[in-house]
């Protein structure tokens, strides 16, 4: 487990931790990159929505269980479940000329996840994502 200041300039450290830890757990480079993407999108999401209070920290942990890589992400912001947006609002489902330029972060997290879970515990948003830890 590692924790980081909830600031965008910590993103490089967050990604380095996730990729290094994934490697230590024996996942392939591709799995490490998928995990990094998930961590980046969750990290930026909690900053962008102004939910992370000043000087707060985020906590990230990874473990491999039964062939799955489990990524835990916790922040100290206001209660916010990132997965509550209706699928119909997803930007990638709109016709190309109507697509907004952004908004794909949660779509990517959701698509790479085998399962996901959100809980509000002890004034923290606790997200857990499971993805295949295979070799490809």
């Amino acid at each position: 487990m590692a924790d980081f200041p909830a600031r965008l300039d910590e993103l490089t450290a967050v990604l380095a931790f996730v990729e290094r830890r994934s490697g230590e757990l024996g996942t392939s480079r591709d799995v490490a990159l998928r995990a990094a993407l998930i961590a980046e999108e969750l990290f930026v999401n909690c900053l962008r929505h102004g939910l992370a209070p000043e000087r707060s920290r985020v906590r990230i942990e990874l473990q491999c269980v039964d062939g799955e890589l489990e990524l835990g992400f916790e922040d100290e912001g206001l209660a916010f479940d990132p997965f509550t947006r209706p699928l119909a609002d997803a930007p990638h489902l709109r016709p190309p000329h109507e697509r907004p330029i952004g908004g794909l972060g949660v779509v990517l997290v959701d698509s790479f996840a085998l399962r996901r879970d959100y809980r509000r515990l002890d004034a923290r948003n606790c997200v857990r994502i499971w993805l295949p830890a295979g070799t490809a």
Binding site: L8, D9, L11, T12, L15, D30, L33, R34, A36, L37, E40, E41, V44, H92, L93, P95, P96, H97, R99, P100, I101, G102, G103, L104, G105, V107, L108, S111, F112, A136
Partner: protein
């Protein structure tokens, strides 16, 4: 992230290398911007050669959407080519094939855009 370019006739190849994330997506946007004005009907076409791009997050996809919104009204043609596995998955999930053609190889992308450029590329 580094961006290199090369030209084959009327097709400009843009080759981002490394990673595009929320820390450097603006740098990517700034690097691409000078090539957009000439990407129009009767002008240049652009191919993003993704063979050396290891990672792209939603911040990088946002820049690609900006490219689409910028050149689309002028009739500019843009294609993506040869993504690495995870980058290809990210493009597939976000349904970028409905924004730009995505080709397995740079050669196929060039051939789809311009016979002159394809001939020039074959000589390289």
């Amino acid at each position: 992230m580094a961006l290199s370019t090369s030209r084959c006739a009327d097709v400009l190849l843009l080759r981002p290398k490394g990673r595009i994330d929320h820390n450097n997506a603006e740098e990517f946007a700034d690097a691409v911007k000078p090539y957009l004005a000439d990407c129009k009907a009767g002008g240049d076409s652009l191919i993003f050669d993704l063979s050396e791009l290891e990672y792209i997050s939603s911040a990088g996809l946002r820049v690609l959407m900006l490219v689409s919104k910028n050149v689309g009204p002028n009739g500019g043609k843009v294609a993506l080519a040869q993504p690495q596995r995870v980058v290809g998955e990210i493009l597939q999930i976000s349904r970028f094939k409905y924004v730009f053609p995505i080709h397995d190889t740079v050669a196929a992308g060039i051939a789809a855009l311009s016979p002159d450029a394809a001939a020039a590329y074959a000589r390289t």
